[in-house]
């Protein structure tokens, strides 16, 4: 269960991720199902457990969700180098994996976004540009509320999960109505969770 560390493999990987980059409308996480199909099912370069751990870890860490791609690259490189037991060559390939997957994921979409938004900024008085921003505003606000809903709905057993829902409701109220620092809330959530209270 590992890719051979050949140049052709790395180029394949780069091209696949660069293609996904341009299809990632709605965020990097929307490409996860296809990455799984390519890396785990088709090529067998990554185990199912490694792929799922990459997503879970990146959700737990601070920063943009796209960092799960870096962890996928990290694990690919480690596998290619023979696993952590193989020592420094494996760590080196892991870093190469991070570089290849992150550059491929970010470069195409970022170049496109940069050019398109510069254009929109210069033409911001254009009726079509204003119509786009006016029309999309209620949609993207609703998407935020829907995201919060979906994150909570992942815990779907009322008898067991009510403390988590209560925690979500209380933090919604606090963020909405007060100026309390977000890190205090996250810290409180971590503490309550660690003590088994949520």
């Amino acid at each position: 269960m590992s890719m051979a560390p050949t140049l052709a493999n790395w180029i394949d990987l780069f091209i696949h991720f660069a293609t996904l980059s341009l299809l990632a409308v709605g965020g990097a996480i929307t490409t996860a199902p296809d990455m799984h199909r390519y890396l785990v099912t088709q090529q067998g370069w990554l185990s199912d457990a490694q792929f799922n751990a990459s997503i879970a870890l990146s959700q737990a860490a601070p920063g943009p969700n796209v960092l799960f791609v870096a962890l996928v690259g990290w694990n690919l490189g480690l596998n290619a180098g023979g696993g952590p037991a193989a020592g420094w060559p494996a760590w080196g390939l892991a870093l190469l994996g991070v570089g290849v997957t992150m550059v491929a994921t970010l470069l195409p979409s970022s170049v496109l976004t940069y050019i398109a938004t510069r254009w929109a900024q210069r033409n911001r008085e254009l009726r079509a540009v204003r119509a786009f921003k006016t029309g999309m505003a209620p949609i993207v606000i609703a998407l935020l509320v829907a995201t919060g809903w979906l994150l909570s709905a992942a815990h779907d057993q009322p008898s067991r999960d009510w403390p988590l829902w209560l925690l979500t409701a209380v933090s919604t109220l606090l963020v909405w109505r007060t100026r309390i620092h977000l890190l205090w809330l996250l810290g409180a959530g971590a503490l309550l969770g660690a003590l088994g209270l949520a």
């Binding site: 943009p64 919604t172 977000l182 890190l183």
Partner: protein, 201 residues
């Protein structure tokens, strides 16, 4: 369409600007490191409420563009904000700030993962933080709703569109791309009509 700017004492509500590319880099580093379970809520809190680099309305507009372009949304947003103030250099500074420190943290976590993953307290802490993160995102959405009051389509249409979108995504689990193309496309066409009527009037 052009609302008069709110006049307040000492220009407290006027937008400000980042001082330099370094300011951009460190601001984005700081907010990315606070962003457990997504950075958007922190971007809104830090850049709109505290630093005032953007008004609420500008933030919603930028976010709509960042969302519709391919690529990670908050990465797109950092590119847009950076490039508006310092061109390509600003875009790269904001992007680097958004990614560098969190990348180091997540790699460190990956190395440590084997030791902590099985510990029930660690798993519990992650669940607790996840529940708070869900609240942060929801509250951000609720706060931004105030921006719809100035929308040219009118509040009633905005509420109807938002409700439709929420039902489609949260309850019916429709794919995002279909919702953006269908409901979003319809909303943009409607806005185009409304804006045309205004210029004629």
């Amino acid at each position: 369409m052009q609302e008069p700017l709110p006049v307040t004492i000492a220009g407290a509500d006027l937008p400000r600007s980042p001082r330099s590319c370094a300011d951009l880099f460190w601001s984005f580093t700081w907010l990315a490191l606070q962003g457990f379970g997504g950075v958007l809520a922190v971007v809104q809190r830090e850049l709109v409420e505290k630093k005032r680099w953007l008004t609420r309305e500008q933030f919603v507009e930028d976010w709509a563009v960042a969302q519709i372009m391919p690529g990670p949304n908050v990465v797109n947003l950092s590119l847009m904000i950076g490039s508006r103030h310092f061109g390509l250099r600003g875009a790269l500074a904001a992007l680097a700030g958004m990614l560098c420190a969190p990348l180091l943290v997540v790699l460190l976590l990956a190395v440590l993962y084997g030791q902590v993953a099985d510990h029930p307290a660690a798993a519990g802490a992650l669940r607790g933080m996840g529940a708070v993160a869900a609240g942060l995102v929801t509250a951000t959405g609720i706060k931004l709703m105030a921006a719809l009051g100035q929308n040219a389509m009118g509040l009633a249409i905005c509420i109807a569109l938002a409700a439709l979108t929420f039902v489609a995504i949260a309850l019916l689990h429709w794919p995002l791309i279909g919702v953006l193309a269908g409901i979003g496309g319809g909303a943009c066409l409607w806005a185009y009509r409304v804006l045309g009527r205004e210029t004629r009037a």
